[in-house]
Each structure stands twice: as structure tokens, then as C-alpha cells.
């Protein structure tokens, strides 16, 4: 019952209620002369129309809508008998909507296939990296249509979310996303993640696999964070990974980032039990059968992911002193406020300048710009921040693509090149002075404008980009589009390099145009620091790097 929208319940309840009242009125109205009583037989139809306007049309409510119309017979036939027949018919008809809405699937769920077709066609028409990535739209459609048909057959919103996310991951572009709502998205990841057996498997820099985020119940078997993993259910973690639907839902724009997370979803695959082969602390290979703890591998996997990737836990755009000579500028998202977008972030830049200068007065020489898990935002904010830290002189940022207003399209020049509009350049301020150094910390999910700042600052002499992985590698302008169910967003506006080639995003080679200067090895030392000691390994590494740097 609780799944029925309240307004629909009111409409359904209105029918028997009106039936009873108008039945009684039929007896009375016949005895009085005034024709105004006839208006009462219009009331259910009028109320139903207004309520349907509020709640939206629902096909399973049709019997109730028809019932409301049946009452109108009482207006045209002011005799007792037809009015009573209309009252009973409408009341019964209206009530049939209740089992229809509760028992038949698809109540207030849009047609999932139609929804896919709508999103697919919009994306096919407007996705700007089709040529760069050589997208085979027909093949994608043939692959995913049956999956949406299956979801529609079961009216399964969670399955719909899973299939959409898998579809989005095919583009190797973190700007391609679909979400119905947070709740459905979480349910989809939980459903796709599989069972929790008490551990997550991660791949170390040397290619071996190790357990992390280990449940206390496995400690008796000698399994702990860092325990080397040989196989999962008889196959290597990398192969087991591919059996996880959550793996298929992961979107990476760069192959190197995808490889970093190889094996990450393996430990969610299996039935009531899973077989783990590992090396114990004595170096002896052991085989054990792990019982399923629960059906929520995603939560464990998410915790492990956050342990590896979360940035400094301070406020957005705050400058925090880390030691005598270094402070951290934490940028959680590349957005500041609505006013800043209008003044090209001039006010934000002034505020940041003041904060940095205040830190300099306290002896701070270097800055760590922490953009780990930064989900992107404004290019104008990127420019304003980069301008402060850039060495003096003119710096090139990116090139806007030429938009042909007549053909409503960008102009391809062939060979992966596009016609350019104009270059975006700025003058550096070098706020830290010649002695100051900058480290930019990134993760595989430092996306979009975070990719921009990574790429831009990697060209500065005073900046070093550090991370376990590269930043995401997705840098085009993105636009969202609302579907009947959910919201689809994808790259829609071209950003170019000076020569007209696509800025940052990977093509068919699955390699983005972005690199880190120092790829920190994710090894046993890092694993222990992160999972056992609770340290911010990348930050510690950066501080050490800055301290040892020759100037």
C-alpha cells in the first residue's frame, strides 16, 4: 500500500466515497425541483482532473479516471435509477485501480526501453567525442537494448540503473553518467557488487594482489591487511574481477587507471561461500573457504576505496598549515559560489591570495594543492587558481573549439583535428616566489576541471603532480539532459589543444593526454600506512618530497 502515491490513493478513495454520497443524493435530488443538484455529479470528475494534474497521469489508474467520468451520467440523466447505477459502477470501477497499482508491475515507472532510446538518441546526436573514440553506436545499441528490455519486463529500476551505468562505462569518459537518484544508485551498486566475504583484494605496484579492509572474523585464519592473495574461486583476482557486474560499471578514461583497480571487485563474486588461496605469514600457501557474511560487498569495497583515495579532511578551499614550511590548499570541487562564476572568480582569487600571503608571513614556502576526488566544475576557477601559482609570464591553458552557428556543429578538419576558435591564455603571478614549490595531489577520480588544473599546472616549472594514479582524463564540457527516468550527462562541448586535437580525453588508444610526474608506488608500505596506521600516505610522501627537494 505504501508504494502507492498518496494522491492516487485519494483519487481511488474518492470513487466509493462519491458513490455513497451520490447514491444518497439521488434519492433526495429527485424530490426537489432545483437543477443545481446536478452539479454534484460533476464534482468527482473535476476533483480527479485536478488531482491527476498534481500527481501526473498514470496508466494503471485508468479505471479510476473512467469511474470519475461515469459519475457525469448523473448530470445528463437526472433520474434516480441511472444515477444509482452510475454511482455503483463508478465506485466498483474506481476500486479496481487499487489492486492494479499494487499488484501489477510498472506503477508510475516510465517505459525503461523508451527511456533508453531517448537518452541513446540524444547522446548519439550530441556526444562530441564520437569521432575521437570511434564509437560504434549500432553495436552499443544492439548490446544494451536487450538488457533494457529485460529490465522493462520486470519494471526493475535498479536493473535499469545497472545497465545504464555499464553503458556509460563503455565510453571511457567520466563525463558520461546516468543517475536516477542516490537511493537507486546505491541499490544498483549494492546489487551489482555481490556478496561480502570479509575482504577486498587490491593490486600492488609489483602486480601481486593483497587483501585489505579485512573483517575481524578472518583474522583467526591468519588473513589480515596485506596478506598476499593468489586466487579467488580458483581463478586470478584479475579474472574474477571480470565476473563482477560492479567491475563492468566502472568508468575509466585511461587504461592505466583501470589497471590500478584490477581485482578490486573480485572479492564480491561467489555464492554462499568463496574459495580463497593466499600466502600466510609463514610464506605457506593456504586455501580456505570463506562463508558469505552478507550481500553488501559494495559497502566494504567503498570503504577500501575511500581509504586509498580520500583527501585531506578539511573544508573546501581552506589553506591548512601542515608543517613549518608547507600548507595545503584543499579543493574538493571546482566550484566556489554563484557570484564567482559571474566575475571570473576574481573575488575568490583575492580571498585565496590573502590566505596564501598570510601563510607566507607565517613562514610557509610550499603548497600542496589537494584535488583528490575533486569532481570538477568551473574552468574559470581553474584559470583563477592557476594564475596565482603560475610562474610569471604568459601561460597557455586551452583552446575553445570553433562553433559553426549555421550548421549547428563543430567543424572537423580530419585526422582527429578540429577547427579552433581562440586560445585561452593568462599571466602568472608566482605568488610563492622563486623558492616556493607546489605539489598537486590527484586520484583517478579527480575529474574534469580537476583534470584541467592538473594538465595546466603540470606545465609549470614550480609544480609536481603526484598520485597513485593519473587524474581521470576527462576534460570536455559536459551537459546534463533529463530523461523520463533519471538524468544523463555526457561530453557536449569541445575543448582543444592549440593544434586542434582533443584536449586530454583519450581516443581509441585508451590513453588520456595527462600524466603524473611522480606515480607513487602502491606497495606493502603504502598499504600498511593506509589500512593499518590510518595515515595519509600520499600527503606524507609529498611532504617528504618537498623537504628533500633541491632548490
Amino acid at each position: 500500500m505504501d508504494s502507492i502515491k498518496n494522491i492516487d490513493l485519494v483519487i481511488i478513495a474518492l470513487m466509493p466515497l462519491s458513490g455513497v454520497l451520490l447514491w444518497a443524493l439521488a434519492n433526495y435530488a429527485e424530490k426537489v425541483m432545483s437543477s443545481r443538484w446536478r452539479i454534484c455529479w460533476l464534482v468527482p470528475a473535476f476533483l480527479t482532473t485536478i488531482l491527476t494534474y498534481l500527481a501526473g497521469f498514470e496508466k494503471l489508474m485508468l479505471p479510476a479516471y473512467i469511474a470519475a467520468a461515469v459519475f457525469v451520467i448523473g448530470l445528463a440523466k437526472p433520474e434516480k435509477k441511472p444515477r444509482k447505477i452510475a454511482s455503483v459502477t463508478a465506485a466498483v470501477l474506481g476500486l479496481t485501480a487499487l489492486p492494479l497499482c499494487t499488484l501489477v508491475g510498472g506503477y508510475r515507472t516510465p517505459d525503461l526501453v523508451k527511456n533508453f532510446n531517448n537518452g541513446f538518441n540524444k547522446m548519439k546526436a550530441h556526444y562530441v567525442l564520437s569521432e575521437e573514440k570511434e564509437i560504434d553506436w549500432d553495436a552499443l545499441y544492439a548490446k544494451y537494448l536487450p538488457q533494457f528490455e529485460e529490465a522493462e519486463k520486470k519494471h526493475d529500476k535498479v536493473r535499469n540503473e545497472i545497465v545504464w551505468t555499464k553503458f556509460c562505462a563503455e565510453f571511457h569518459d567520466l563525463h558520461v553518467n546516468y543517475i536516477t537518484d542516490e537511493e537507486t544508485n546505491k541499490a544498483a551498486k549494492k546489487c551489482a557488487g555481490g556478496n561480502d566475504y570479509g575482504l577486498v583484494i587490491t593490486k600492488l605496484a609489483d602486480g601481486s594482489f593483497a587483501a585489505v579492509q579485512v573483517d575481524d572474523s578472518l583474522k583467526a585464519k591468519g588473513i589480515h591487511n596485506g596478506t598476499p592473495v593468489i586466487s579467488w574461486n580458483g581463478i586470478s583476482p584479475a579474472e574474477a574481477d571480470k565476473q563482477s557486474e560492479l567491475y563492468e560499471m566502472q568508468n575509466y578514461a585511461d587504461e592505466d587507471n583501470a589497471k590500478f583497480y584490477e581485482g578490486f571487485f573480485a572479492a564480491g563474486t561467489g555464492g554462499e561461500t568463496a574459495e580463497l588461496v593466499y600466502t600466510d605469514d609463514n610464506g605457506v600457501q593456504q586455501t580456505t573457504t570463506l562463508p558469505k557474511l552478507n550481500d553488501d560487498y559494495y559497502s566494504r569495497c567503498k570503504d577500501a576505496y575511500e581509504t586509498i583515495n580520500q583527501g585531506l579532511n578539511v573544508g573546501h578551499m581552506t589553506v591548512t598549515k601542515l608543517n613549518d614550511t608547507t600548507a595545503c590548499l584543499r579543493i574538493k570541487t571546482m566550484l566556489f559560489d554563484s557570484i564567482s562564476e559571474k566575475d571570473d572568480h576574481a573575488a575568490m582569487q583575492n580571498e585565496l591570495r590573502e590566505n596564501i600571503l598570510a601563510m607566507k608571513e607565517q613562514g610557509v614556502r610550499d603548497i600542496v594543492i589537494d584535488i583528490r576526488e575533486n569532481n570538477g566544475g568551473s574552468g574559470s576557477m581553474v584559470k583563477a587558481i592557476a594564475q596565482l601559482f603560475a610562474p610569471e609570464g604568459e601561460h597557455y591553458y586551452v583552446t575553445d573549439a570553433y562553433w559553426d552557428d549555421t550548421s549547428h556543429s563543430y567543424k572537423s578538419e580530419g585526422g582527429g583535428k578540429w577547427m579552433t576558435d581562440h586560445d585561452i591564455v593568462f599571466d602568472g603571478e608566482n605568488i610563492l616566489g622563486d623558492e616556493g614549490r607546489i605539489v598537486v595531489l590527484v586520484t583517478a577520480h579527480s575529474v574534469s576541471a580537476a583534470d584541467h588544473i592538473t594538465k595546466l599546472m603540470s606545465g609549470f616549472d614550480n609544480t609536481t603532480i603526484i598520485g597513485f594514479t593519473e587524474s581521470s582524463g576527462s576534460a570536455q564540457g559536459v551537459s546534463p539532459t533529463d530523461l523520463d527516468l533519471g538524468m544523463l550527462s555526457f561530453s557536449s562541448s569541445l575543448m582543444l589543444n592549440k593544434d586542434g586535437s582533443v584536449f586530454i580525453d583519450s581516443g581509441t588508444d585508451y590513453q588520456s593526454g595527462i600524466e603524473v610526474d611522480i606515480k607513487v608506488p602502491y606497495d606493502n608500505q603504502a598499504l600498511t600506512a593506509l589500512f593499518d596506521d590510518g595515515k595519509d600516505y600520499l600527503m606524507d610522501y609529498s611532504l617528504e618530497y618537498l623537504a628533500e627537494l633541491e632548490r
Partner: protein, 262 residues
Amino acid sequence: MKDLIMAQIYQILRTRVYFWVFIACLALAALFGVSEYLNGADDLDDGMLLTASDFFTRCGMIATLFLGFSGFFVSFFTGDDFKDKTANYELMSGRLRKQSFFARVTVTVVFNILLGSLMMVFPLTLYALLTGWGNSIPVSAAVTRILLMAFPFFRQVCFYILLTYIIKRPGYAFLACYGYMCILTLLPAQADPTGTVLAFTSIQNLLHFDYWATFGLERDAQVIYDPNIDTALAVRIIISSLAAGAAYLWAAYSYFHKDDIE
């Protein structure tokens, strides 16, 4: 019935207040465009002119204005003759109720649909003359949608006719029509992709353009409208409007047919 229709037309043409309200409708429709222009309409860059095609992509307010004004015309065209007993005298002089009803309905429906179409066309023509048509949408897209708007206009007018025949006092009927329209605009309604629930939602769907925007870091956003209208939506709007309009007229006539006209 022809002479009743002619009498109605004569009465409308001779009533000065109708003329001034009609002029006010057209003036407000044009002024709405001016306010869009002066307010710096969305998506227009500095110095850009609000062309007729830009204007059409954001002229939902004109349809709302029409829904308000048509309430006035419907309630007075069909209800004014109850007040001075003209309707009673018609029946006493041997006219059928059917003739009396459909003569007024015909004149009212035709006039109001023409008014609605004119309220859409007039400011468009004005802006086309002042700033050109532009390239946001082709003329054919605007013409198609304006023609289709006749159907929800018909539906809404028929609903107002029903209200007027129930209330029978033009002033109160106008208040009811206007109140109904105001309540609808204030209620937090769900989007109606079917376009069939009310004339109001059909109009919203007809005046909605799917659009797409591209931008650069230092290049203004370009909005690209999809001028096509879904055929299935158009068919749904036509059928639902005709069916609902006919149902309203049937209910209005059923009520009037056995009404004591007091």
C-alpha cells in the same frame, strides 16, 4: 440558427468593452516580448537581439495570458444573455434550446481560438519585422505548433463554457474561470509528458522545445533547439482535446437542456 449566430456576432462587434479587452490582449502579448527583451532574456548574449524565433521558444506566458482573457470572453459571450433574459426570450419566441446553445458556443469557440492564435502570431510578426526571424527555430515549426495550439484552446474554451452555463452570471463565471487558471498555475503539478491531462499541460508540451547547449571557456553558450514535435504527442493532444472539449460541451448542453434558466 444562422440568425442567432449573426445576432451574437452583431452583439460582440457592437460592445465596445470587448474591443478594448481584445486590444489589451494583443498589447499585452507584444509587451511580454518587450519585457523579455528588457530583462535580458536567457541565453541571449550582450548586444544580441531577441529575434522572433528566440521569442517563440519562450512565449509560454502568452498562452497563460490567453487562458485568462478567454475566460472573460467566454463568460460574457455565453453568459451575458442570461442576465438580461435574452436567452429566455429566445426560447419563448420559439427557438430551440439546442439552437440557442450551439449558436453561442459556435461564436465563442471560433472567436476564442482565433484570439488565441492571433495572440501568438501578433508579437511574432512584430518581432520578425523589428529584429528578423532569427535561426533558433524555422518558421514552419512555429506555424505547426500554433496550429496545434487550436486544439487545447478549444478544450479550454469548452471547459469555460461549461462553467458559464452552470454559473449563468458572466461576472462570477469569469471569476471562476480566472480563479481556476490561477490555481492551476500556482499548484505544484507534475510534468505531464502525455500532454493530455489538461489543456494547460497540452499547451505546455506544445510550447516546450528540447534544446541543447554547447559552450567554451571563453565563448558564450550556444543553445540549439530541436524544432520537431513528436507525432505521437501531437496526435494525443488532438484526440484528447477534441474528446475532452466534446465532453465539456455535452455536459454543458445536458445541464442547459433541463435547466430552468433562473
